[in-house]
Amino acid sequence: MTKIAWVIDEEKDNVATILSHGVKKGAAIQVETYRKIKEITVQADIPYGHKIAIKPIRKGVKYGLSIGRATQDIEIGQHVHVHNIESMRGRGDFG
């Protein structure tokens, strides 16, 4: 079966990766998370390969580890990308 959304570390991750084309705002998708299937209503058009929030986010977690900091509160079903999370590494603006 073709997976629509993929979670790496089912217990810790708060994002899933969309592996289907044409996931549009308002669609209901099923995400396999820790021991259960969670139904999520998509809050924005999400391109193939981009991430969707599967839990409310203040800090992004993928692979069970931090991939950066949320720059705003992110709700379940929202698109998670460069517009709302940021890297903490290799930056010239931190003293």
Binding site: T17, G49, H50, L65, H81, M88, R89, G90
Partner: protein, 389 residues
């Protein structure tokens, strides 16, 4: 336990290939090197813009990498060519260092033999005599404990960290269980993955080395005044869904599997004898990174690419794998394995890992990669620390 058919060298290392290396010690010998290599069966040219007007630390790096090319088990013999007289990167020292392996090594100085035409003639003749000897060697059965697996990835996309890198990691773990060593490189692309790598280190000393090496690379980048955001992840990474350097790093680190990390080694430095993963200090620049891995003695490299990449090292067969079917279709001329079935649900992750494992053993034993057949030699470049003098 895995084994392969390879060329046993006088120093006990085992090659997957039996190349005659025509090695340029300086940019000004490159044309002669190309002409000689074009004339000789089984010859591989190594040319580059370095070997002169470099700081001492860069000259040493150039010297070590050129010697590492000659010492790589895939090389059976070497002709080193120079145009005049180089300080700290001269052909006599290069030849002496490589000859410690017991391999035949010859030198030609363009000025000393009376110019480019004489140099081509002399180097061609010397190379021919070495090739005559090399052609008598036959492949012998060797255990995979003689194998150093190179790991690298490039033009990463969403599929890399989720599929092809994960499968490559499982493959690497299997080789290590059977006695091999793997080299993980690309330090600036491991920023944010320290915690996970450190959790696999064999000692507190190695934990410190991992943090220190990656931090040192980050400091080198910041010392240039660059803010890395916008260039790492790259624009194509971002379009593909990778949002931060940490996300890219964690996906990239997946290709090192879950085996213990034995040590952190310098650029081009040979790993220790104990099976496991060795973390090498290299940039993310693909050709510089895989050249460091080849100089350390790796016989075969697996390169995981999301978008499709043409990189291939001249002396280290480079097997390219992808988890993206579109990329495979577009880049079939150079990508060897299509692992897109992992994400489309037609291939198990273990099945993909076994596919890579078997391909590596076959390439070690003589099967040619697509890029070898096409003579793609895009992957030789020496890392630099400082400016030109």
């Amino acid at each position: 336990m895995g084994s392969f058919m390879g060329y046993v060298r006088p120093d006990g290392t085992v090659g997957a290939r039996n190349y005659l290396l025509i090695l340029s010690a300086t940019i000004y010998a490159n044309s002669v090197v190309e002409r000689v290599a074009n004339s000789l069966y089984g010859a591989i040219p190594i040319t580059h813009p370095l070997g002169r007007s470099q700081t001492k630390s860069d000259l040493k790096m150039t010297f070590d990498i050129l010697c590492g090319m000659g010492k790589n088990p895939n090389v059976g013999g070497v002709v080193v060519i120079v145009h005049f007289r180089e300080e700290l990167c001269n052909i006599h020292d290069i030849a002496h260092e490589i000859s410690k392996t017991g391999k035949p090594v010859e030198t030609v100085n363009i000025r000393a033999v009376g110019g480019a035409i004489n140099a081509v003639a002399e180097a061609t003749r010397k190379g021919m005599h070495i090739m005559r000897k090399l052609s008598t060697l036959t492949r012998e059965k060797a255990e995979v404990s003689n194998f150093i697996l190179g790991l690298n990835c490039g033009t990463s996309d969403t599929t890399s960290g989720l599929s092809s890198n994960v499968a490559l990691g499982i493959c690497s773990d299997r080789f290590i269980r059977e006695g091999s060593r793997s080299i993980l490189a690309e330090l600036p692309e491991l920023m944010g993955a320290e915690e996970w790598l450190a959790s696999r280190a064999v000692s507190p000393e190695v934990v410190q080395k991992i943090y220190k090496a990656i931090q040192s690379y980050e400091e080198r980048i910041l010392a240039t005044g660059e803010d890395i955001r916008g260039s790492q992840p790259t624009g194509d990474n971002i379009a593909g869904g990778i949002s931060t350097i940490e996300e890219k790093s964690l996906g990239g680190a997946k290709k090192s599997g879950s085996a213990p990390i034995q040590d952190v080694i310098g650029y081009g430095e040979r790993p220790g004898r104990v099976p496991g993963v060795y973390l090498m200090y290299t940039p993310g620049h693909g050709s510089e990174s895989i050249t460091g891995i080849a100089a350390a003695g790796a016989q075969v490299l697996v390169f995981s690419t999301g978008g499709g990449h043409t990189i291939s090292h001249p002396i280290m067969p480079t097997i390219k794998i992808t988890g993206n079917n579109t990329s495979y279709q577009l880049m079939q001329d150079t990508v060897d394995l299509d692992l897109s079935g992992i994400l489309s649900g037609t291939m198990g992750i273990q099945e993909a890992a076994d596919l890579i494992y078997n391909e590596v053993l076959e390439v070690l034993s003589g099967k040619m990669t697509k890029s070898e057949i096409l003579k793609e030699m895009t992957g030789f470049a020496i890392h630099r620390i400082g400016i030109s003098l």
